[in-house]
Symmetry: C2
Subunit: 329 residues, 2 copies
């Protein structure tokens, strides 16, 4: 037995494929098909175990009911959780999700977007890499729905879902101040990505407010040489003249590496030095370390809602959603 098609159902009952299609797509109301026939078709389809062919549908209708998700690295817990919630939520709308990784490379991002375009995804949810704006603009030019997630390019108006990085970072830094820290170091990525700058700005604002800002306490690290860069930065900061008493790590990865280095140097947290970080690091043992908790399920939900809305209803003016992130102490 081959696969059951709409034609098989039609010929079995003795009606046209058009009628079957109509019924099976729920377009039989509005005085189209008689209640009786409609029921018969539905029952026959079920009994024959009919499954629609997605490709034929997609080819004909131009829609694939698939969303392309582009993240930096699915094995990073932050993105893995985002992906999880995006899938769960997309599932409710009947959309599948194809997940791809960029490893923070704009080249790879272009490649993945192109693969997903080839797969005819109806829309994109993208965590863009640095220097990846061209790729996003192209999507816009082609009128393909895309919502940026976590990061955005201020120069190109797009739908975006993220958190209020500035205030979250400010709160995080203020927390260290409240604990009595006077010399708070920042370790962040060297990047032009706006969300990273916002985190930095939040830190700067908090410190500038009480005259504790010192640019020498800011260390920027490169994604490609992250371990060495962080190790060197932490070492310099700790062994230098400034008596560092606090650290703000701007991502979970930076946090993990930084804390490890501190441990290696036999610096106890939080006894010798206080720290706070952005995103949870997957370690029960540091559950005592305060961190900025992004509302991951909500971020995923919003991103899906928007992209599905764009797919179905076209592209009005883009929305820029900044959710609140909570400091968990």
């Amino acid at each position: 037995m081959g696969r059951v098609s709409i034609k098989d159902i039609a010929s079995k009952i003795g009606v046209s494929t058009a009628t079957v299609s109509l019924v099976l797509n729920g377009k039989d109301k509005l005085g189209r098909v008689s209640e009786q026939l409609s029921k018969k078709i539905r029952e026959t389809a079920k009994s024959m175990n009919y499954k629609p062919n997605g490709f034929a549908k997609a080819l004909r209708s131009g829609r694939s009911e698939t969303i392309g998700l582009v993240v930096a690295d699915i094995s990073n817990p932050f993105f893995a959780h985002l992906a999880f919630h995006i899938q769960e939520h997309a599932d409710r709308y009947g959309y599948s999700v194809i997940i791809t990784n960029t490893n923070e490379s704009p080249k790879k991002m272009e490649k993945m977007v192109s693969i997903l375009k080839y797969r005819q995804v109806d829309g994109f949810i993208i965590v863009p890499t640095e220097n990846g704006s061209r790729c996003i603009e192209e999507l816009h030019e082609n009128k393909i729905p895309v919502v940026l997630l976590d990061r955005y390019f201020p120069e190109i108006p797009s739908d975006y879902v993220g958190v209020d990085n500035f205030h979250a970072s400010m709160k995080a830094t203020e927390h260290l101040l409240k604990l009595g820290c006077k010399k708070i170091a920042l370790i962040t990525y060297k990047t032009t990505l706006r969300h990273a700058q916002e985190r930095r700005d939040g830190y700067v604002s908090a410190l500038a407010g009480c005259d504790l800002y010192d640019s020498r306490l800011i260390k920027e690290v490169n994604h490609s040489t992250i371990v060495e860069d962080i190790n060197r930065s932490v070492q310099e900061l700790i062994l230098g003249d400034n008596k560092i008493d606090g650290f703000f790590f701007t991502t979970n990865t930076i946090s993990s590496i930084g804390l490890k280095k501190l441990k290696e140097m036999q610096i106890n947290v939080p006894e010798d030095i206080k720290t706070v970080c952005f995103d949870k690091i997957e370690s029960f043992d540091f559950s005592t370390i305060p961190f900025v908790q992004q509302p991951i399920p909500e971020m995923g939900k919003q991103a899906v809602d928007i992209v599905v809305d764009r797919i179905r209803n076209g592209n009005p003016s883009p929305v820029h959603i900044e959710l609140k992130a909570e400091l968990i102490v």
Copy 2:
């Protein structure tokens, strides 16, 4: 401008779509199409920025060049890493991967498999849930290539890629013995899944070998009530009459929760009690805790290799691959 199709190229050059298709699929050798025309077609396709329509291709050929991946939970680092490597490797073959989650529910597994079937994936890579064998058998009956990953059902012969759980667990337990432990507890899932039993058997064998086996030291926990179950088990074991001096945790999740509980109880690891676990837990601070390291990239690669081979060359007798897992101390 609409999308460029094979027809556009054909009419622009003045040849048939058949010829264009032949050339663009690399079937122009063997004295089919003249070198010159072939070149012209290729160049024109490129200049017109032709992208083949995947759905038309899939509809016509019956192949989607997509692999369906079914895991328990993409936000678990073990599966996230597996997914990452599966994608990277599948990409080399030109296959996309759709990832779905089951949350260890056979119901959800059936649903996901059915969604992926609807998406017409060419083959499956599945980390099956308990009681999920029926679903796998159905795939077999329908001659759809499927390779099981991490877990398998001994009663149904299928392609499978996993690790040698028995010996890995034995080694892990022996490590604790070498450290001088006499009362080693096991915390594992209450499940009929064979790989979990193998881990248990490895533990039992190691202990039985030196007459230290004591069934009261084995605690089984349920997936749905895992935190309470582990907390209770650890507490009972520690506060009971047996002077537990070692723990073997059979998964990363169990490990995390167990270690957390130990910390809560102010038991120091490894001073007061030694532990070893299966899979790495994402915590730099416990880098000192020995763990069984599964060869995740290799597992992903093998699974992809097999499923692609099955898709392309049909289904000979199934292979059962058990890779070695290393104990990292």
